[in-house]
């Protein structure tokens, strides 16, 4: 799934952000406001990320 950073992610120290999970690249993209694709989100980071998937809009009946 695609994720972007919440404001709280940007305040995490390097031993708690994506650096600590072996991905400087993902950290840099998140800090630039870009979306990342993550197969398994580390549970420690779940609350600091939000989905960037495009939501399907349900067609309303007229």
């Amino acid at each position: 799934m695609k994720y972007i950073a919440k404001e709280s992610y940007k305040k995490l120290s390097d031993d708690k952000n994506f650096y600590a999970f072996g991905s400087a690249a993902k950290h840099n993209r998140l800090m630039s406001g870009l979306a990342i694709e993550v197969t398994n989100v580390p549970k420690e980071l779940k609350s600091h990320l939000q989905s960037a998937e495009i939501k399907k809009v349900k067609k309303e009946d007229k």
Partner: protein, 330 residues
């Protein structure tokens, strides 16, 4: 007379990772992955010899003409590994700084120090790894060889129906400007043995190029970059000041597929229309290689019992922030 000797088959190769000052040995309390290495070479502290010009009239070389140049040395090791998720992701970490699936290479990727624009000696860096060769030391007591401050310069993934039972092979080249050290390295506190199953070409479920489904005989993808050391700090250890990447990441590869109607439908790309097309190789959701802008590079038919088409290609990014290649692996 020394009585010790070195059986090569008892050497185990580990990769130490985690944030560390560049040039520092990963501690035995750091993360140590012991991969399924099937072949490797090994380095030892060494120096090339340069010879100054000969004086006219002399037909022999004088000792004063010889100059060792440890300041220029880049030590290079290539590991051949069974194609597990850990082998792929550790390689991606040291090559382009993304060790978590989906490992994503973009034009902005790098292996710089944390929040920095350089790879500098002593800088905190999460991408550099330490290679440990247990039982590779020549000394009877200095049993191990370690190489600190290693980055990858090349990584090749390949699968072939005709070799290794179809298993994926990952071949990664690591380099360092720091001298390899022989010592009795205290064993890592916890060795993370890589017990993952290698990906297999017979497990691929959907392989498309430009929307055409290919029946693959083999494929390989290489990601590479040039990396050089920066000078030397002193004449004791000849540590570099750091590293510089002197060119872009290049992603190239070759698909060898059954020559059939789908190949015919790729005619425009094969003939050359300078248009990027999508390459997608997938083993369910466990292993996906995704290149959004691939251009075919001089594809030719191949003769055999049945005809094949060799499709060399190069992958590009659609924009400065777009992905060149994404590797999803679990």
């Amino acid at each position: 007379m020394a009585t010790n000797f070195q059986p090569s088959n008892i050497i185990e190769v580990g990769i130490g990772s985690g944030s560390k000052a560049l040039g520092t040995l990963h501690a035995n309390s750091d993360t140590w992955d012991f991969l399924q290495v099937t072949d490797f070479n090994i380095e030892a502290a060494s120096a090339p010899l340069e010879i100054a010009p000969n004086k006219s009239g002399l037909l022999g070389q004088l000792a004063s003409q010889g100059h060792h140049r440890p300041d220029t040395q880049m030590y290079e090791v290539t590991l051949t590994m069974r194609g597990t998720a850990t082998a792929v992701l550790k390689s991606c970490l040291a090559l382009f700084g993304d060790g978590a699936s989906e490992a994503s290479l973009t034009p902005a990727s790098n292996t710089n120090d944390n929040s920095s624009t350089a790879m500098k000696h002593g800088g905190t860096n999460v991408n550099a790894v330490t290679l440990l060769f247990e039982n590779a030391g020549a000394d009877a007591t200095a049993l191990d060889v370690s190489m600190v401050g290693c980055f990858a310069t090349s990584m090749t993934m390949r699968q072939d129906v005709g070799t290794n039972g179809g298993e994926m092979v990952v071949e990664t080249t690591f380099v360092t400007g720091y001298r390899p050290v022989q010592s009795a390295y205290a064993a890592p506190n916890s060795k993370v043995l890589d017990t993952g199953a290698p990906k297999n070409i017979f497990g691929l479920t959907a392989n498309t190029l430009g929307g055409e489904t290919l029946i693959l005989n083999s494929w390989e993808i290489n990601i590479s970059r040039p990396l050089v050391r920066v000078h030397y700090q002193d004449t004791t250890d000849y540590h570099p000041y750091g590293y510089v990447q002197t060119g872009p990441y290049e992603v190239t590869g070759t698909l060898v597929a059954k020559r059939d109607d789908e190949i015919h439908d790729l005619d425009a790309g094969i003939a050359g229309d300078s248009t990027g097309i999508i390459l997608a190789l997938a083993q369910g959701s466990d292993f996906i290689i995704d290149c959004q802008k691939v251009m075919i590079d001089n594809s030719k038919p191949e003769m055999g019992d049945f005809m094949l088409q060799s499709i060399p290609f190069r992958a590009f990014a659609a924009s400065e922030t777009a992905e060149i290649i994404g590797i999803t692996i679990a």
